[in-house]
Symmetry: C2
Subunit: 278 residues, 2 copies
């Protein structure tokens, strides 16, 4: 499929990592990245914690599997990005320069690691394992566009995604692990998709949520990967359970135009900081 010249083909690789199987997961990621690149993708998004799996029973167990960003964990990604001239964003368990464990997303291209972002809003028992990040989410200028990064539960904090939009993100990419049950939500109404659509629309940005699927230590994951346009419309997904590579052709220039089509409004310019702060 040819990609229109001003468009960026984005892929979300919905995988099923196997807990603790670092070598197997590395192969799984490599194969998915190659498939996405063969499909024309130039921005490839992977799930949260895709090198290790998610359900750590202790910090010690996580530490035994975590890797530094500058170590081997991302070498494969850089090599694949280099082979395919792509940008890859994915989540991994990081041990940082201070020795702290982090739930981290990295942005890499063929030249190396462009940015790491450490999840600022930790979900549930993640706090028994990881330290929350201390830095604002980055907007990374890459060869394919300006990429804002969040991880999973971060997306539930509209202040965070607004920050990314104000900082110029054209697409917000969100490595994610969505658990099956969010109490109180009926089947078919998984809230993550609504939140991704709302974030896209109110900020006029693309949003690419890359989820995982499958079961891990009794926890099921639902496979709610989506790619959303700046109006909040679904371009791809959610596929539900099962391996999937979502592809969507995103004209990132449209995310630099904050006007609401057909109206004289501006999603960022219409804000009223006088009423609710910056």
């Amino acid at each position: 499929m040819p990609v229109p010249s001003t468009f960026l083909r984005v892929a979300c690789c919905q995988l099923r990592p196997q807990f603790g199987a670092v070598v197997r997961n590395r192969e799984l990621v490599r194969d998915a990245v190659r498939s996405a690149a063969a499909g024309g993708a130039r921005l490839i998004v992977l799930p949260e914690l895709c090198t290790t799996g998610y359900v750590f029973t202790s910090a010690a167990e996580a530490r035994s599997l975590a890797q530094p960003a500058a170590g081997g964990a991302l070498d494969d990604w850089i090599e694949e990005a280099n082979r395919s001239d792509t940008v890859i964003v994915g989540g991994f368990a990081e041990v940082d320069e201070r020795g702290a464990l982090r739930n981290t997303a990295a942005v890499v291209d063929g030249s190396g690691v462009l940015a790491v972002y450490r999840k600022a809003h930790l979900w549930d028992s993640e706090r028994d394992v990881f330290e929350a990040g201390d830095d604002p989410p980055p907007v990374v200028q890459t060869p394919v566009g300006r990429i804002g990064v969040s991880v999973c539960y971060d997306l539930f904090f509209p202040e965070m995604t607004r920050r990314l939009a104000l900082d110029g993100a054209e697409i917000v990419v969100v490595p994610t692990n969505s658990p099956r049950t969010v109490a109180g939500i009926a089947a078919g109404q998984h809230i993550g998709v609504s939140i991704a659509r709302a974030v896209a629309h109110v900020n006029r940005v693309f949003v690419a949520v890359c989820d995982r699927w499958g079961e891990e230590r009794g926890q099921e994951w639902v496979g709610r990967s989506v790619i959303v346009d700046p109006a909040g419309g679904l371009m791809a997904g959610p596929p539900g359970e099962g391996a999937a590579i979502l592809l969507a052709d995103c004209d990132l220039a449209t995310a630099r135009d904050k006007r609401c089509p057909g109206a004289s409004n501006d999603a960022l310019g219409d804000r009223r900081p006088d009423l609710y702060g910056p």
Copy 2:
């Protein structure tokens, strides 16, 4: 239907106001309020600008139909609220104490006007007619609960609804007029419902959007009223086009608990103002 004692039955009266027909619209509202009250509702929400219709061609035309909040516009509502021991929230075209035209929502009970809120984010050509409000959205302590008020496009500014939640709103009520077309959104994906669900979930509040339906001077309205629970689940609606009275029994106490069920998280307490401001 008996309402569990700790629950509040909420109604959204999805009406079709007729442009400029103030007397007819008053009767329409009165009948809907009586139906909702007969159905057990104690909080009754009406659409935006339901006394006049929406599609003003000039400020002069709006001025000829607008009324002061202290004038006759709300007397009917107060009388109906008194008869039925309800709280009514709805939108009307207001001429304020300075003579400025406002797109206003009022909260009334049988004792009178509890609060007015003037829409802060004006949509499209509303700016040719109205002045935007200068005051933060109110959280009104009423006999039925703590009600946060927004109007239509306000809901697209997550800073505003976050403010309402931080100020203690248990339910955010949103008199609304949703136009048929938001460019770029496919049929069945109207973004307003996703945004209402996202607002509810990320703030752990109930959200009641009362929309209108029908056509007015060539503008069609889609009827996307919804009542959403604090998990983001749909309790009622959207009905689509046609007159409808949505009813839902809301246990407002659940909106005072910001924990995410099944996790050790807190929707407001987990915020990171150090990363993105208050």
